[in-house]
Symmetry: C2
Subunit: 479 residues, 2 copies
């Protein structure tokens, strides 16, 4: 998952996009089912029984785990634009075809390429020792051999922003702001602001480099990477994250030392103006021309094998759609599974899709992405027209036995559907227990062993039921 | 803590050392206290009250945490024989003097030096990706650029030992044996056999290199280092440990691949025939010429800051002895705190001490080392003469309110006192909850944040009471 801030940014970029066409009502397009049911009930008895059957099948299916194990083992890390991401796309095409999906294809696009080559940090004096550090995505390099300067610590990004330039000039700025652990990941938004903000604020004040306490909730010596962007017109300075224990250590060193604490930071990176990425797409064709879009993103950060971010989302939604294909009959709407490319470095796949499919966005009935690991789902959220909230309420009752309550009607739907949402496409979201998600997020520790197979099955069951119902209930989800 | 096997090895090396002198009975040497008490009670009422007072003081003392924080921050990692270990000795001398210990000194010795320079491992084909690896202490280097060969996996060291040479020759042997999590760390002995055993068995069979699943119980991408020794006459091949998730990954890659899995392993190391190390010693002089030895080891592996292994032991025993000095009056026996040097790479400090102090070992009344982190203590063990077990029983009753039961009379006393134990010195041991010790042991994650301050206080309280009682109860602990 990319920063929520970047998601919001993507949304604001797209918010003014012209999209004022009248939405197609499914009732008109298909004209069956809804009118026979009592006003308060949209789901038919047959649909409820079918959703139940699909949930049961999902709870005993190993498919999602098999897909996740295969992706994380046979491909491993798959940085946006890399050769490994290209192998992941090939993996996606082969798996979707083998599972019987139709119209399987790669929709390619280009993006600027960045990768880390080497990174190290050390306290030089007065307490010489190595620190665990990782470059933030898009950071410029330091000079070869590193950049040595005094460290100046700020307890928060706000404190840095208000600092006088003379306190910062020529120094290595250290933004030591912590992240709060929260069920819904709500601590991430405030904490991630420093990922771009530290380098931008420090660069503006003339600093030599900016390091941050990792945006993460664990206490292991694994720094969290993640994308950052330089603001226009601000000097671009190298920027990196310390693990939480190393941030503790540097803060202690600063409090112990009577004189300056000198740090050496070395970052070596490789960049190219353009690399190829792509979205991998497979479909279960429906009986109408409407489309339900689900998926996860195929790229991952380079440090781990992208099991929770976002191999899980790819595996959950692919397995869920396959279960619907097996048990659900030919759906009313086409179910389109998208394995999004290059999400982590700026939602490139999401934007490319919205552009390539601009002409059919009005036929996108509803969309959702799974991009928060494999923690168990506790709520069904939506962002649909007021008239459709009752149908979502009914869907929630179908998945309530999985422990899922009804959430609000202000769902984000996931980062890769944010351009669709901005263009008026309704979304739903299956909110997950994220208490440990930011222990792993963007670290080397994002590996298969962190996924609980039982939680993964609960996810697949909820997604399968939601895909089946979204694709078959003849309700217009738009306002 | 070094491998128990190495401890046993050290013991066996020393078991034949001549030490047949009659032990000095404290009753004869001092002649007060014991004969006045009833046969079943060695501790006087005043001693019990004093022990209680010391326990209470320890439970509200921050000294151990302050020492541990200072050592891990101001020195950090302190590899045996390194310049950092020399700084740690200076730190020890300054702290012991500042705390009022007497006869503060460094007793130096030499040892062969080894340090890692660079290490990496990658699956080359068919699933190219980096693996998290660390060289085992004393490993030879690979050729520059690495050593590339097919991987052959063995589920256990025993399986490797029984393998035919043609299965192994020219390959990278992978010993994938797991470790069992146990309260008393009892899973370590069986698991650590492969740390030397893999390279020795594989080298004997003509392998190119040997890698092992880390000797550890966690599932983080932090490989566990640790010392290994080449057997005489066996070809010396490079040897390293994968983190547990990486061992899982390599095992999966082998099960997925239809052909060979090719690995590249690069280890670069630096060695010198001799480096200086030393034991740091401080004393609370007693009224007799007998000595009670307590301490922890000052060196640590290079990857972490040695908070649990063994900064905790140094801090606990130093703080406990200081509390005894403040509250206990002048002790009957001299309390000697030893911050042992170069434990991790082969008990060099322990051997040097036993040699340097051979002439006074008969005056060592009892000895013990704290070297199992800061997990809470649950049992008092001993290895004393049968006549002295009653006194140890009484001591246990004094610390029972800390949750400490009586353990057996076969204590090891800790790795650095094993040469003393082999020479006939009685020992006691305070058994700790080690359920998470081997999550951290010898990894980058061995840092201050892993120490629970409340558990640390419980340790100090138990050690302070035991030091006070051992140094003052006029019992001969020898058989």
């Amino acid at each position: 998952m990319i920063g929520r801030l970047l998601g919001i940014c993507a949304l604001s970029l797209c918010a003014s996009a012209a999209f004022a066409q009248p939405t197609l009502g499914v009732r008109n397009a298909v004209g069956e089912g809804a009118t026979d049911a009592p006003a308060a009930e949209v789901l038919t008895g047959a649909q409820k029984r079918k959703a139940d059957e699909i949930i049961n099948a999902a709870l005993s299916s190993e498919l999602a785990y098999e897909l996740l194990e295969s992706l994380t083992t046979e491909i491993g890390p798959r940085l946006a634009g890399s050769e490994a991401e290209a192998r992941a796309r090939q993996w996606g095409v082969e798996r979707l075809k083998a599972l019987g999906f139709k119209n399987v294809r790669i929709e390619t696009f280009e993006l600027p390429y960045w990768q880390r080559v080497r990174e190290s940090a050390a306290i030089v004096s007065p307490y010489p020792q190595q620190l665990a550090v990782t470059a933030l995505g898009n950071s410029v390099a330091t000079p070869k051999g590193g950049l040595q300067a005094e460290v100046v610590r700020f307890a928060s990004l706000d404190e840095l922003r208000q600092a006088p330039a003379e306190r910062v000039k020529g120094k290595i700025v250290f933004v030591d702001e912590k992240m709060t652990r929260m069920m819904d990941g709500g601590g991430y938004g405030p904490a991630v602001a420093k990922r771009s903000g530290a380098a931008n604020a420090a660069g503006r004040l003339g600093a030599a480099a900016a390091i941050i306490r990792s945006v993460g909730t664990d206490s292991h010596r694994m720094p969290h990477t993640g994308g950052m962007r330089y603001e226009d017109g601000v000097p671009q300075i190298p920027t990196a994250a310390l693990s939480n224990p190393d941030a503790d250590q540097l803060a202690r060193a600063l409090s112990y030392a009577e004189g300056p604490v000198m740090l050496n930071l070395e970052l070596s990176v490789e960049t190219r103006p353009a690399a190829t990425s792509g979205n991998v797409i497979g479909e279960i064709p429906g009986r109408s021309d409407e489309i339900v879009v689900v998926g996860g993103h195929l790229d991952s950060w380079d440090l781990g094998t992208g099991a929770v971010d976002d191999g899980a989302g790819v595996a959950i939604t692919t397995a869920a759609a396959k279960l619907v294909a097996v048990h659900g009959g030919k759906p009313l709407r086409t179910i389109r599974v998208v394995m999004w490319g290059s999400e982590e470095v700026g939602l490139h796949g999401a934007r490319a899709y919205a552009k390539a499919h601009a002409g059919e966005l009005e036929r996108h009935a509803i969309a959702s992405e799974s991009d928060f690991g494999a923690g168990s789902i506790y709520a069904l959220e939506s962002r649909v027209g007021q008239d459709a909230t009752g149908a979502i309420d009914e869907m929630q009752r179908q998945i309530a036995r999985l422990g899922i309550i009804r959430g609000g009607n202000e769902a984000s739907g996931g980062p890769d559907v944010s351009p669709l949402r901005a263009a008026g496409v309704p979304v739903f979201g299956l909110a997950q227990n994220g208490l440990d998600y930011f222990d792993l997020h963007h670290t080397p520790d994002d590996t298969l062993d962190k996924v609980d197979p039982a939680d993964l099955k609960q996810n697949v069951a909820a997604w399968a039921a939601m895909i089946y119902l979204s694709a078959n209930v003849p309700v217009d989800f738009r306002p």
